[in-house]
């Protein structure tokens, strides 16, 4: 499992828990981080820069500290 995938799962769970519009929220996070969440899989290799950007985007959009 990669860190990127763990973050993706965390984001999806938060969206589900808060009953948010999944497509809109994922879109915002994707645009801010520069990564399409749909393309992140358990085998996606970790890239420290990509992880940091996704973490920052998740914090800005969902206010979660991943």
């Amino acid at each position: 499992m990669s860190q990127l995938y763990d973050l993706k799962v965390l984001i999806e769970n938060k969206i589900k828990a808060d009953g948010l519009d999944a497509m809109a929220v994922k879109g915002k996070i994707g645009l801010r981080s520069g990564r399409t969440l749909a393309l992140i899989s358990p085998s996606t290799p970790d890239d420290p820069d990509a992880v940091a950007k996704l973490r920052q985007a998740a914090k800005e959009v969902l206010n979660i500290n991943a």
């Binding site: 497509m23 994922k26 879109g27 645009l31 399409t36 749909a38 393309l39």
Partner: protein, 388 residues
């Protein structure tokens, strides 16, 4: 409100237009008012100067006619030639109250030149024998003809005529002089124009002690120290504050000068001044003119308020229309593109851009929709997504 938004910038630009528009109207109205009030002041000065000249000429004519009638009486010439003061008083005193009622306040007889002493003052019979040594006396002695003009003397600033009187044998018996206080002119001028006037005398031509003594005699306040260069000899208003002039009376140009306009309470006034010369051509005094332009001022203010209101309403309506148009044609459609783009990135490949028109934003919508279709097609061929 974010300053990075085009909407905010456009709103700020339109608000600036509103401020500039209203400011422009205010500046234009102020300029117009200043120009018109200056024209009114110039007209007041010119009008007052003409009126003063007319009054001066009329009074000189009047005194000339009176003197003409007087010297036709040989008894007057003979009494003056004989230095018979009692006889002269007997002949002329009954007439003096009537002339005084008509404005002729000074009436004198002088002995012939070269002595030319005051022989009789009808307005002050107890005082005689003094020498005045004025320009008019010298001119009359030099020409033996009638001399007329303004003369500032101890008795005051008056328009005078001085002419020779001959006895029954044609010999020079002396001179007769009539005078009218110029101060009374300003009250006649006020009655005719409604403007206020002040008669200023240059301190260079007025004796300080005389001014103090005459103030006591006339029971008026000694106003010598009110102004640096001149004294106010007479005025048509009780309000001292409207007569304000800092310069030298002698420096006032011959055609007069507009000073400024000013407020006092709800009233607005314009001030002007023109010089008054004596018979020798010296600028010994000046006439201060104050015109009440409150009616004009209020009308201009009303016009200004209406213009400001109309401009503000028109610009506000313009701002509303521009913002509504921009919102409908640009901002709302851009927001829709942003929403769709975000959702597509979020995985909603079914969201579509509605191309609403063929304008610039419509071309962008069309381009973006084509881009979206390419993106969706691309995503459909990604192996990770195909597995799902």
């Amino acid at each position: 409100m974010k300053w990075t938004l085009i909407r905010t910038k456009v709103l700020a630009a339109l608000a600036a237009c509103l401020v500039v528009g209203v400011g422009g109207i205010l500046a234009l109205m102020y300029y117009s008012f200043a120009r018109n009030s200056r024209a009114l002041a110039a007209e007041s000065v010119t009008g007052a100067q003409k009126l003063f000249t007319i009054l001066e000429t009329r009074e000189i004519s009047k005194m000339t006619a009176v003197s003409e009638t007087l010297i036709m009486n040989p008894q007057v010439g003979d009494a003056l030639a004989a230095r018979d003061r009692s006889r002269l008083i007997e002949l002329t005193a009954p007439l003096y109250p009537k002339l005084k009622k008509e404005g002729i306040t000074n009436w004198m007889f002088h002995t012939p030149d070269p002595d030319m002493a005051v022989f009789l003052r009808l307005h002050n019979p107890a005082k005689f024998g003094d020498h005045l040594n004025r320009f008019m006396d010298k001119e009359a002695a030099r020409t033996h003809a009638m001399v007329a003009g303004n003369e500032l003397a101890k008795a005051g600033f008056a328009v005078r005529i001085l002419r020779p009187v001959y006895d029954a044998h044609g010999g020079l018996a002396g001179y007769v002089e009539f005078g009218e206080e110029i101060g009374q002119f300003i009250h006649a001028m006020k009655r005719q124009t409604g403007d206020d006037y002040g008669l200023l005398l240059s301190k260079k031509f007025v004796d300080r002690q005389f001014w103090a003594d005459s103030s006591a005699v006339w029971q008026r306040r000694d106003n010598w120290d009110d102004n640096a260069n001149f004294v106010v000899a007479d005025k048509t208003t009780d309000n001292d504050s409207i007569i304000q002039f800092q310069g030298e009376v002698a420096a006032v140009p011959a055609q007069g000068k507009v000073l400024e306009w000013f407020h006092e309470g709800d009233s607005a006034f314009v001030r002007g001044i023109f010089p008054i010369r004596d018979a020798a051509g010296n600028t010994v005094g000046a006439m201060f003119v104050v015109r009440d332009i409150s009616g004009f001022y209020l009308a201009m203010r009303h016009t200004r308020n209406v213009l400001v209101l109309v401009t503000a309403v028109a610009l506000a309506l313009g701002i509303f229309l521009v913002l509504t148009l921009l919102n409908r044609l640009v901002f709302r459609r851009l927001e829709h593109i942003i929403v769709v783009a975000t959702r597509v990135v979020g995985g909603d490949y079914e969201s579509e851009i509605r191309v609403e028109s063929d304008d610039e934003v419509g071309q962008f919508e069309q381009l973006f929709e084509q881009f979206r279709l390419v993106f969706v097609d691309l995503m459909a061929h990604v192996p990770e997504l195909q597995e799902k």
